[in-house]
């Protein structure tokens, strides 16, 4: 039997069906489908896929276990390198990472690595497989600030090493972007909840409603509450606006506001109190995952949606699968278009978006061609809602309230090595707070590296302390 050139088809809700619900779009492989897809992997000796996975999961090995039907064994392989496979299998930009480098992709379609990873992770959850074994107790407390993927993975590793870990979260629900940003139809909240419950079972404490820098400070945690080390993983949550006229009109919102109302506050479910406004004709400005999520949420709430993006289709930074799904669901794309002004009716509600046409000019220092306006190309889109999805930046709160912490000019926390060591002893940082808006897998990896560094830091401190006291 020759190797299948194309992927084993995966069940999805039809575009028509899913346009009116928030249930997950992709239904995942069953075991037979997963085993069949697994047979497509050639088990390369020098697997290109592993090189392209930011956390170097042993992909051929876990796929081999799927082939032989030993899913628990596959789960153990993944667990060595990733603590959030149910999430990353769903949201990693696989087409530019693992799958983008898979040799099978040269002649046909790459192996569905993400979907297989997701299959294993979901199987693990369904079968209550506990992968973690807790090592002996270590007498040190570590504070993790922020409960996104960076914080969760750091807490997970430290708890497994035996540390007493408390996660402090500003919002009323843990999970970071996984709960307030990424919608249910891409990442069911029950999966995030399950990841968090796993952490609780191994002893991680969560203190919600605590805004570090306001309610408490890094200093008070270390000096008054006895935390030996702190990991800052506060993300990059501040929304950007364009600075064009009319941006504060009614009907203009940031994608963060729109998505927070929908995901975190569940405004689309009738029995929750938080309101959400839905336009009939919605324009989303931007081309990343955030823009796709906002557009597809609006579609589900009954809007006609256009995405306005200043570059061309090729440059869209969103995951390929999301763009594909968005088109299927009826989102209309206006490429090479940039808003210049938002106009309103006499009651102060948005009714028109003035745009100009763009063309791609010379490449900038990063090699990306810079879009520039075409003279005299202004035109209008009539609309009653505009959602700004222009990117986000780190919150300066902790930097402004913590002694000895250095920041980058653009607002990120300055780290001195790849393990997230900051300029202040005992304080580590990682994820979007350090890199700026990036990806779940990179945030997760930063959390794990910092956990290793924190362990080393605390062991060194304890051994110094020990030498000192035994010398006396």
């Amino acid at each position: 039997m020759g190797t299948l050139k194309s992927r084993v088809a995966i069940a999805e809700q039809s575009p028509k069906e899913r346009r009116s619900n928030f249930n997950e779009v992709c239904l995942g492989y069953n075991i037979d489908e997963a085993r069949l897809e697994a047979t497509r992997c050639l088990e390369c000796k020098k697997p290109k896929c592993v090189e392209a996975c930011p956390v170097s999961i042993n992909i051929p090995l876990f796929i081999k276990h799927i082939k032989s039907g030993d899913i628990a064994e596959a789960a153990k392989v993944i667990d060595l390198d990733s603590s959030l496979p149910a999430v990353c299998g769903r949201v990693c930009p696989q087409e530019i990472q693992c799958e983008g480098s898979c040799v099978m992709g040269k002649k046909g379609e790459p192996v569905s690595i993400g979907k297989l990873e997701r299959f294993v992770a979901d199987w693990t959850i369904k079968n209550h497989l506990e992968l973690t074994t807790k090592s002996s107790k270590r007498n040190s407390r570590v504070a993790v600030i922020g409960s996104g993927p960076a914080g969760l993975s750091c807490a997970s590793d430290l708890a497994k090493m035996g540390y007493e870990v408390t996660v402090f979260e500003a919002l009323h629900m843990p999970g970071g972007v996984l709960v307030y940003g990424i919608p249910e139809f891409r990442l069911p909240k029950s999966i995030v909840e399950e990841q968090i419950n796993q952490l609780k079972r191994i002893g991680v404490r969560f203190e919600l409603d605590v805004i570090v820098g306001k309610t408490i400070t890094v200093d008070s945690l270390m000096e008054e509450e006895g935390y030996g080390a702190v990991f800052i993983s506060t993300g990059a949550g501040l929304p950007r606006f364009m600075g064009i006229p009319g941006e504060n009109l009614n009907g203009v919102v940031s994608a963060n506001e729109f998505l927070t109302r929908i995901n975190l506050m569940k405004a689309y479910q009738g029995d929750y109190d938080t309101p959400v406004y839905i336009g009939k004709n919605v324009v989303v400005v931007g081309g990343g995952n955030v823009a796709m999520d906002a557009a597809r949420s609006a579609i589900r709430l009954g809007s006609n949606v256009k995405i306005v993006y200043r570059r061309s289709e090729k440059e869209l930074p969103a995951r390929a699968e999301e763009v594909h799904h968005a088109i299927e669901e009826g989102v209309e794309f206006c490429f090479l278009t940039n808003p210049v002004e938002i106009l309103s009716d006499e009651k102060g509600w948005v009714n028109e978006l003035r745009c100009v046409k763009m063309r791609l000019g010379e490449p900038d220092s990063n090699g990306r061609r810079v879009p520039e306006p075409i003279p005299n190309s202004a035109f209008s889109i009539s609309c009653d809602m505009v959602i700004m999805a222009l990117g986000t930046s780190p919150n300066p709160l902790i930097i402004n309230t913590t002694k000895g912490l250095k920041s980058e000019r653009w607002g990120g926390i300055h780290v001195v090595n790849e393990f997230g060591k900051t300029t202040r002893p005992g304080v580590f940082a990682g994820g979007d707070a350090v890199t700026g808006a990036a990806t779940v897998i990179l945030a997760m990896q930063a959390g794990r590296k910092a956990a290793a560094a924190i362990d080393e830091f605390l062991r060194e401190r304890d051994s110094k302390h020990f030498n000192f006291s035994s010398a006396n």
Partner: protein, 291 residues
């Protein structure tokens, strides 16, 4: 969970709650607010800190039943709990950074409308302890809606009261009293106005004429209160600012009030629908109970 230690009715539909929230009490300062959620399907709403006791770990809020969330909260009794009570949020009042001699002997005029009388209380307390001279104008629609008069009278040098219907004190708006005090020759180093947006707007217009530095505390829409959603954005001095992190207090003469007032109504029709739903639900519960 954040337990309600004390509930007091201040006026029809206006209640004071003392809530157990030791972490918030410990770091609270005048001018700051909390974001609370009443129950697991509730929304996040901002409320100004009306008092705090670092020793007992309690924080006081004063809340007026307006819509769905505030009505549910006002139906809470002592012993009930908020599921969430996060803070202190926002910047403390500017004067907590002042040198003592910049406060001692300086004349402040507070203008408070409606429930705005509650948030000025910790500010008065702070300034009084540091020797400021304090005049206060409190306004309400009518006599029974005036709150905390006795508590405030105790902290201030002069208290003026205005009601729209004349049922107590001056008949008319707080701004009329303000204009009168100024035209009588009273000099103030600083005016601080807290109340409905329209009131703050007209106070700002008055004091601008006389070039008196004026601070207002903006009650914009909010969700997270940490800078993450931008729902609270306002235009101040031509720039976009986030009320939850840059405010809530701003230089009154730089705020675009007309825009801020429009933005407050953004979710008005959804909010009203929700209120009807909630009332219907509550009505049902009550019927259930009596049966």
């Amino acid at each position: 969970m954040f337990k309600i230690l004390r509930k007091r009715e201040l006026a029809p539909d206006i209640y004071l709650f003392e809530v157990e929230a030791p972490r918030v009490a410990k770091t609270a300062n005048p001018g700051q607010f909390v974001i609370v959620r009443a129950y697991d399907k509730g929304e996040r709403i901002p409320l100004t800190i009306a008092d705090y006791d670092k020793r007992t770990g309690s924080v006081t809020i004063v809340i007026q039943a307006l819509g769905a969330s505030t009505r549910v909260i006002c139906s809470f009794e002592e012993g009930d709990s908020f599921v969430d009570f996060a803070g202190p949020l926002g910047q403390p009042s500017d004067f907590i950074h002042f040198d003592p001699d910049k406060i001692n002997g300086k004349r402040f005029l507070f203008v408070a409308g409606g429930v705005g009388a509650a948030p000025i209380y910790p500010q008065l307390k702070y300034l009084k302890e540091r020797g400021a001279v304090l005049d206060v104008i409190i306004g309400a629609r009518s006599k029974e809606l005036l709150i905390l008069l006795d508590e405030i009278r105790e902290k201030v040098d002069n208290l003026y009261v205005a009601t729209n219907d004349g049922s107590f004190g001056y008949k008319g708006f707080v701004t009329c009293v303000l204009e009168e005090l100024i035209s009588k020759g009273n000099q103030y180093d600083q005016v601080i106005a807290i109340g409905p947006m329209v009131m703050m707007k007209s106070v700002a217009e008055s004091t601008k004429k006389y070039s008196i530095p004026t601070i207002v505390s903006l009650n914009t829409l909010m969700i997270d209160g940490t800078g993450m959603c931008g729902a609270c954005r306002v235009t101040v001095n031509g720039k976009i600012r986030f009320t939850c992190v840059d405010g809530p207090e701003f230089n009154a003469h730089e705020v675009d009030f007309d825009e801020a007032m429009l933005r407050l109504n953004m979710y008005r029709s959804e909010e009203q629908k929700r209120l009807v739903d909630i009332e219907r639900k509550h009505h049902k519960c009550k019927i259930g109970r009596t049966m």
